[in-house]
Symmetry: C2
Subunit: 128 residues, 2 copies
DNA sequence: ACTTGACTTAGAGCGCGCTCGAAGTTCTAA
DNA sequence: TTAGAACTTCGAGCGCGCTCTAAGTCAAGT
């Protein structure tokens, strides 16, 4: 009964560290992982999609507290689907706002770069 | 000689707290600010643009360490223009990468939301 | 003159998300 | 069989970017 993916290999596949995988389990983002007879963790291939989804939520700035709430809802089965959807919709709006802000700020930074290029040209023309 | 903007008003204008303004000055993001005869800080209207630019850099994820480097270059005058431009260009690339990642992740989250909607419809149809 | 509140400095403390260390057990390869 | 790497738990520690506290000074209103 010692099948499944050892933590090292699972870490490699998810891009998370073994430390982080244990931490995520500890704080309830991952359900308790099955063990080999030795006590070592054995991940299932099916755990991959969930960890990848968690990683997307983090990468888009969702706080760990909210991810914990989402994971808790998920453990409570299908009747939490609407609440999970609403949570994701709120996050979707946050991301869209963040994207809009980034684009505005990027435009301003791009202008600044152009301003520097202009200055460099005029400095070079009469300064050197 | 006590003209200029008191810290409270300047904080309100920039959206930073007075604490953060003092902190930024302490770590060299802001040049030492002029003082009234009382010792109280007096900001100049011209400081606003710089603080706003700093705020854009932070909002787009530039680490404070890099902002410190940028501020130090700026203090060294026009001959640092090319290096400042290169620093901003590198940051520009970082933002563009981040935007691309966010968009990919947002799309995946949007799909997940749609998946939930589909599930809710089919659950509702035969479950209720 | 006195109160109230904004300011000053220096340094401590905090919330976040990991990340690491210690001490002990188990697996793997020679 | 034995060395060394990988695993376990538990709790401490860290880097970041602020944020706050304490103790004191200064300014404005009554």
């Amino acid at each position: 009964m010692d099948t499944g993916i050892p933590i090292r290999a699972f870490a490699a596949r998810t891009g998370l560290s073994a430390h982080t995988l244990r931490y995520y389990e500890r704080i309830g983002l991952l359900d308790p992982v099955g063990r080999a007879s030795s006590g070592h963790r054995r991940y299932l291939a099916g755990d991959l999609a969930w960890v990848e989804f968690l990683t997307r939520l983090r990468a888009t700035g969702m706080p760990v507290r909210v991810m914990q709430r989402f994971a808790a809802l998920r453990r409570h089965g299908d009747r939490t689907l609407p609440e999970r959807r609403e949570l994701l919709e709120a996050h979707q709006r946050d991301i869209e706002q963040h994207l809009a802000d980034l684009q505005v700020n990027l435009a301003a930074i791009t202008e600044k770069i152009q301003h520097y290029r202009d200055l460099e040209v005029s400095n070079g023309q009469h300064g050197e």
